[in-house]
Every structure is written in C-alpha cells, then in structure tokens.
Amino acid sequence: MISITNANKTFVKPGSRKVEASSVEVLKNVNLEIKENEFITIVGPSGCGKTTLLRAVAGLTKLDSGEIKAAGDLVTGPSPDRAMVFQSFALMPWANVMRNVAFGLEIRGVGKDERETIARELILAVGLKGFENSLPGELSGGMKQRVGLARALAVNPKILLMDEPFGGLDEQTKRLMQEELLRLWESQKKTVIFVTHSLDEAILLADRCVLMAARPGHITEVLDIPLGRPRTRDAERTSTYIDLKEKIWDHLRTAQIQENAAKGA
C-alpha cells in the first residue's frame, strides 16, 4: 500500500551574525514497505525523523531525494486520501463540532444534508453524540482529539496518518483513547501510520513497530508484534508484550542517551 524508497531529507538552519549555518540529516536512506490495512507504529527519540517521515507520506514535507508511493500513486502533495490526525488537534475554533467533522466533505463539495448525515454517524462512533453544536473551546483534550479522528474518518481515506495524537492528553484519557482507536480500527480497517513517544502505544496498537534513531535519522529495526487481533488491553500482561517492551526500551534508551550526548557536545 505504501512504499518508501531511499527517502532523504536534510534540514538546513541558516546562520546569523553570531551562529554558523548548520544542517541536520533528518532522514537518511529510509526504506519501508507497508501492507494494506496494516497498523504501523513508529517510535524513537526526538529528532529521529519520525514526524518528518510521517509528514513526507502526508505530502506536507518534500523529500530531498527518494520517493514515496501510496496506493500506487506517487506522493507529491497533501490529499484527503492520506488523512491526518494532529497532535494539537488543529480544530477550527470558530466552528462547532459538526462543522469541524464535516470540514473535509465541505471542501470536497458534498451537499449539506449528505455531509451532516455522514458527520453525525462519525460523531456517534467516536462517542460525542450530543456535542454536535459545541465549540472546540468548550471541549476537553480527549474530546477534541475525537473530533480530529472523526474528521479524518469522515473522508473515508485509504490511509490514516496520526502524529502523536494522544501526546497532549493525560494518562487516563490517553488509555481510553487507545482502546477507542483499537475498537474503531477493528470495525473499519485502514492502513495506519501512528507516530508516538510512548512504548505502550507503540506495542499495543501495532501490527509492526518501526524503531528509529537520530543523527542521521534512520530505521534501526522493524519489529513484528505477534499479539493477535482483535487486540485488548489484556495483551499488556503477556510475556511477549513484556519482552517487546524491554527490547524497545533498550533501543530507545541507547538512542536517547546518544542524542543527549550529541546535543550537549
């Protein structure tokens, strides 16, 4: 479904009178193949390029070299086929929940009645029934993210891209949202790329987990998550889970220590 071939991206920070220009290789020779309806998580320390990679698949960031193909077509720019859920929700504060969820449909030109029907279904599916007329300012973090999720699902995308979507939420809400996401994904399978900082999320949600490290940003390993579907929180207590978590933490610890050392130097 998605193939990333030889992706390379360097960020150049222009110099000023006091500081020299510097460049960071944020992605170097990244290759990845993702099957249809696979749930992939990407985990790694800050600066390892995971968000850049996600944005490249989204078409929001252009690669310096290499190519990304999604559903057979080359990725050249953003598209609702690769809908995105944002870490800081990206809701329009001046529009109510209904309008926010229906936004993608409105842009596409879908008629008012039709798009409101679709939106209503999704608002129900994410558990926000009754809040159709609320403004984002009146919602909690978890509720806002549900709106973001509903909006992404409303355009029936082939691919769902999630950029640390639960990063800004408290622990309890985060866990609830993880369970919701699993439930939703089971009912309407999609190809998902989920970027996260959290070890638990990386394992619990995924079919495969991609480990990345920085300087330069690259994939160190891709782990299979043989925890069976449908997935529930019970999986957390299996020894497979515990081993995987240990392995990922090992990788992360080394990578993060390296990163801290490099930054401090």
Binding site: S16, R17, K18, V19
Partner: protein
Amino acid sequence: MNKTKRYLPSLGFFVFLLLAWQVFRKLFDSILIPSTFGMVRAFFQLLVKGSTWNAFWISNQSLVLGFVISGVVGIAVGLLIGRRAWLERAVDPWLDFMLVVPMAMIMPALIMAMGFSLSSRVVIVCLFTFPVIVINTQAGLKQVSSELVDMAHVFGANEYKLWVKILIKGAAPLVWSGLRSGLGRAISGMVLSELLLSSVGIGILFQTFQGNFDPEMTFGLVALLVCESLLLLKIMNVVERRAIPWFYIERV
C-alpha cells in the same frame, strides 16, 4: 537575497506611483495638482533657503521643549502613580479624557488664555504628548514581574534600592515605547498648531504657499516635515537601542 534584489520590488512600485500620479494629473487637468518635477524642484529650493531653516528653528522650539517637559513630567507622574492602585484609578479618567478629546478643537481656548506665545505652543505639544507617556510608564511599571520584586525583598532591598535596581530597569522598555509614541504625537501637535494657528515659522510658510496657490511649495514643505519626523524617529530608535540593549538580543 542580495540587497538590490530586495529593494527592487519597492523601487518598481515607486515608478508605478509616479506614473499613476501623472495619470491622475491628466485626468483632473488642474493647475492645483503639482507635477512630479515641480514637487522635487520645490523640495530642493526650500532646502537651501535660509528662511526655511529659520521657520523650522522657530517652530521646532515648541516641539523640543514640549517633548522634553512632557517626557520628564510624564515619566515622573507615571512612576508615581504606577505603584498605588487607587492613585492610578483616580488619574485614569483624566488621561483617557486627554487621549480621546480632539485636542485640536480645544486649542482656541488655550490661545485665548495664553496668546500666540511660545508657551502656548509648548502647552499644546505637552497636551498631545503627556497622556501617552504617562500611560506607557504606568503600564511598564505594572508589568514588572512580582516575582522579581519578591526576590529583591528576599535579598534585603529597601524601597529605594528596589526602585533603582529593579523597577526602573524593568519598566524601561515600555517607557521607551511611550517616548517613541509620544514623539509622534508631539510632532502631530506641533504641526496642528502650525496649521491651525499659523502665527509663526512653518505655519506662516504654509499660509503663504496656500495664498499663492502654490501646491508645489506646499508639497516641498510637507516633504521636508516628513523627512524631519523620520529623522527624529530614527534618532529616537538609536538612542533607545543604546539605552536598553538587553531588550534587543537577537535570539539565536
């Protein structure tokens, strides 16, 4: 982007403006609309005339005196009332009043009281400038983080030390901002008094040019005034940067 490339679009726009002005002239076909050449010529003619400099000297006295007095008194008042909430509330309505009331309408009353002297013109400039400086100074004092004040008290600072070491430094950026806005208003005040009272200096020049139906000279004079105001503001900028360099560190 190299320097010439950067300024090219605005130069291009300048040419566009000149052309537009020519079209405007042709459309309205009136002697009252000066030609570009005439305007530029008038500007330089005025620049070299001694009488122009004389007029500027006379008129600017009110500007300089008014601004300096407003600055000193304004900052003093601002600092005084900034620390006592009730005092601030008591002075507030008058500051708001001075800001909102069209000063220009009130000027005749002032002239009646003080005549066409330098003092009346200075008072006018003060009325324009004073409220802005007080308000900004007041705000500057208020926004000094209370944490800093607490810190100073913890380390044993008395009221005097607190003022000198913390409050004045902390309020400085907004005080300078007030001085900058105040300068703009002072210039407005001076120009308004020249235009409406036209008793001395630049005011007389305006009257003469208008009486002779000489729009080119009027333009030249206005252009000179614009240059003066830009120059004064630039000087204020430089002084400000010297006074509070710590406010302008480039974030790396």
